[in-house]
Amino acid sequence: MKSWGCPNCGKLAYTAEPLPHTEFHPCPGLKGVLAPMIEVGQKVKVLAVVREDYIGREVVRKDDDGRPVMAVVTERPDGSNDCAVFAPTASFGTSAG
């Protein structure tokens, strides 16, 4: 059993999954952005990264304020980090004339 917490909203979770994994949740502390839970006891920062490029017709993920979020980064004190990027959907349209 693993214990998880969120440094931004305080949410707690517990999992029994034996394989390596990361729990995600829509984080109120990051304005609704899908963010990873952190194993209890770790001191890290979890940050939302705003998309750098224009959106155009891309199907992107946005926070509660409507800002396009490109990724969520987890920074550890030793300089290492995790990065979860939100890939937009590639689309094509079909129609009968």
Binding site: V59, R76, D78, D82, A84, A90, S91
Partner: protein
Amino acid sequence: MAWTNSKVFARYVSDMMDNIVAFDLGSDVPKVALYNNVITPDNTVVSASTAYGVGQWAAANEVSQAVQWPVGGVALAGTSLTVGASATTYDANDTASGSAATLASIFGALVYDDTITTPVADQGLSYNYFGGTNSVTNGTFTVVWNVAGIFRATY
């Protein structure tokens, strides 16, 4: 130029419609390869130029690390094809590296069919632009696919 958007390859659609390539997304195993910003993806190129390792998708532009996110990419798992009222969606589980990855200048991904060998091996299905530069240092890099899927056909 460089990356500007996410697109389905036109030749993926036309080769499927024309029965030139036996795509079977119900059983094929596509892979996800990562790329830097040196490339300029184009979804209108010929089939051969959509393939992994060819043209814009050459290994020189690929971002990889042995074991963590190896050359050639990471296989999609948990793939699904869902037919809805306004779209058919191809999706999969989020795709993650090993837990000790160090990767830099990641701008986007090529999703290609690693099962297809003829007439074009490893033909591209789509490319997905992350919206800027991303990196990971001794950690996990995860591609979280949109709730609207990796790619979709709308109607």
